[in-house]
Symmetry: D2
């Protein structure tokens, strides 16, 4: 994979003159061969966002030295920044309940190398996903969740995430609401798929609500999970056409294809370090 030999720098900061020149000069002086660069200015809020990816072949400093040398620049421009190495394989956990279409899609893409990550575990409140996890060689953890044991179940989940060094949790149709505490521990580190075109039909049973309303398109939304249910920063959305011929069950069937697509794209873009959040929105670099 190409990403194996690249580094990626992600920056957001107040939009001030000289920021691009300074970064470009810094990378040039250290021998970076830039492969992709993209930037965005929010001219209303006077914010600057940048993603730059370069070939490490001739780059003359390592992560340590980078940090040391880049810190004064970052301080001068008041940057939030992070440096990612393409060869790193972050650990991703998948949470799933009984609908497996998103999981099937994620695991196949994982197997053929589309995702630059490792998936050390799948956690489910049911056992339906176990055979699939076994087939793809991913350890499966059954953590039942009830009203009574919810806090305890989340403690177990957190333990598992920490034991596996998980840096991204993907809710692939996981039908339990995570506690505020759980969410707060993993800011911008949990991606969910909601089975509607948010903000339409937030909450439970969106396809039934869509059917009742008589919409002509249904959709799905992938987003980072925040404390407010279905209100986190949207990463991707897509829709599919429906008609009066489709009953609620047909909407559920058709919706599955959109759900898996928008979730897989969100996971892919996160792993390619293409997403920056600000306010309650995302910048998704091409």
């Amino acid at each position: 994979m190409e990403m194996d030999h690249t580094a990626i720098l992600l920056i957001d900061c107040p939009d001030r003159k000289g920021v691009v020149a300074t970064i470009a000069d810094f990378l040039y002086r250290h021998g970076a061969n830039v492969l992709h660069a993209d930037q965005h200015q929010d001219n209303d809020q006077k914010l600057f966002f940048m993603r730059v990816e370069w070939d490490l072949a001739d780059f003359d400093i390592d992560a340590e030295a980078f940090k040391r040398e880049f810190l004064p620049i970052a301080a001068k421009f008041e940057m939030n920044w992070r440096l990612e190495y393409g060869k790193t394989r972050p650990a991703v956990a998948i949470f799933v309940s009984r609908h497996l279409h998103c999981l099937v899609d994620l695991l196949y893409r994982y197997q053929i190398g589309e995702f630059q990550c490792v998936i050390p575990l799948i956690i489910s409140n049911h056992t339906d996903a176990k055979p699939l996890a076994d087939f793809y060689g991913v350890p499966f953890h059954h953590v039942p969740v009830t009203a009574a044991n919810k806090a305890e179940a989340e403690r177990r989940q957190v333990e598992l995430l920490e034991a596996n060094n998980v840096s991204l949790t993907v809710l692939a149709r996981y039908m339990q609401v995570l506690s505020s505490d759980f969410v707060a521990r993993h800011p911008r580190k949990i991606i969910n798929v909601h089975h509607s075109f948010l903000p339409a039909f937030s909450g439970a049973k969106p396809y039934h609500a869509a059917f009742e309303r008589g919409v002509k398109l249904i959709g799905a939304t992938s987003h980072y999970v925040t404390d407010v249910l279905d209100e986190g920063p949207i990463i991707e959305q897509d829709v599919i056409r429906v008609s009066h011929r489709d009953n609620a069950r047909d909407l559920i069937h058709k919706g599955r294809d959109v759900e898996r697509t928008v979730l897989s794209r969100a996971v892919q873009w996160h792993l390619q370090h293409r997403i920056l959040c600000y306010g309650n929105k995302t910048v998704v670099f091409d």
Copy 2:
């Protein structure tokens, strides 16, 4: 135009055996050469819907005789029904305020004969649309609306509609809310375009709301107007992709193209007698 020599029968009734056989037999006995036929069963609510269009060439009864002979059938099956003649040109009124993109689109389609109707008048609370109305030879009526004169203005509008025998009113970005009374006078006879993917972002300033929420698709919705704002039966919806690069003004620009498309489709389908309403939904026959 093909429709000039055809008749269209629209039916909805409880779904009972024999209804199709009875209608087909009736049409056959009278020499109908069926050009298009489409039916829909709502198997949950046990309702039956049908649209059938036939060539009048060999059809041996006129509207009067049709009514007389069809009434017993309609009674037996408890049908709502109507018979339309393709050659009829219903009168359509267009209401518009200052954004003219939908009007431009409607008038051009009208001019080249896409719509089977006459447009005897355009009503506006501003004068911006007058030159365009003049160019297309459509009488233009300026009816200013203020908080103070609203009831009076609506009286004037109703007079104009009645004087012109209007059977369909199209709100082509008309920015005044019609009174309940006005709406009640014209059930399923007013089509509006809302500049969002309803039910998301109902109400005012939907593009700004969409921008705030950070959605990745924006849309537009054409619907029949009912007493509850933005809640009438949806006829058509479509969306267009946006990104973090689009500010609120860009959304407005991009949205225009979707608005005119969904409105023109709705008007077209209405005029082709393709739409049946039931509950708060539409059946739109192909």
Copy 3:
């Protein structure tokens, strides 16, 4: 599944008056409770097409009696017709080579009951698909194909299809061209997915050709296989947006999602008896 208790009648014939009335009357007299009915007139070629599906609960004749009683009607109107029972599970064979994304999709849909069929075998000229076949419990047959053994390999394939009573063969990215003889044995019984928006980029390496041409959308096409490569009746097509940022490999990645979608839809519609072919085209009933 609903289809378990239904029958479906598919008809094409010259478009003559009385055909709908006659069929509707026939079904009504035998107690059919019609669930869906759709018809199409090709007014240029004067052809009539119909699909009608009914609940068998009160239907008073079996397949044998149906045939006996319907034959005179069919003869009178010069119909091509077939009667299908929803509960029948036709046998479907999947051919695949090394790209498994379509197979993954088909087998998952099969497992969760989306397809009204049995899949008694997968045939491949490679062994890559074997673990997946094993996981889903579908017998796997490795039939290597070389220039030298091609005729022999096809004989083996035909034996397998016949031994399993296969009535539909799905080429899920099977990279061998089938002989005219093989195709002639299975008219309208082989569905292929071509990885381009046909007729653009027919032949080999369509994504590379699309990349060379600099198109802004790429697509995929599912079609029945005929003697002329990539020229059979098109069942479904879809596209996805690409840009200058996508190299040929990116097109291949993005295209996978479209390929599996259009192939799965085609298989679904075929199994739901929604497709009629005429000339080199398809009618796909809603």
Copy 4:
């Protein structure tokens, strides 16, 4: 309009280290406040493309000085480059025959200020467009074209373009093929809309060809005109779904909506200086 106070620099050159740093430093030193910047690397062909737009408020050199100071940089990196000022209104000519839907769309967008240009003339081989041209106040020139007078007609067209300082010619459904000579005079300065999803159905009567082939989507393509008919660099494409219910005339109707959309986008992007051509392709910056 925002563009009134900005400058845009477009560059393509061999991809070498230091190019971004050099440009960014140059702009920074002269006080540019960068509003948008986008770059692209073709890693196969080792080419670099860049578009940068900045606010001129604090920019301390004019076009003359820019040229003088930038030339050594351009020479060093072997750049093709151009500097555009947003406030410039290039002159655009529209050629049209009898189908006016694209023209209607272009002129309305022009009127409401969507396009940063002037349109000093419309040229047509028919007179159908004259009233519309008059309504929008654009001088109309009727230049009939026959087999006999073609060379003469083109001379007249060239005169008109030159007299009006035209820098972009838009073929808005102009049904005459331009001579090689005419095309050679205006490299990358003529935008055409072809009414198919190229390269499918190039040549005449694409909708009829699409109907014959039984495709399930139809499309349109905007592209720069080159010497080889329908083979120039593609700028934009889009599609719309069709079905067996659509005859050739329906395809023509549906296609109109796609044609005007892809043509207007192409014109817009060209005027916003977002397009760079290389080989036979385009880079279209966001």
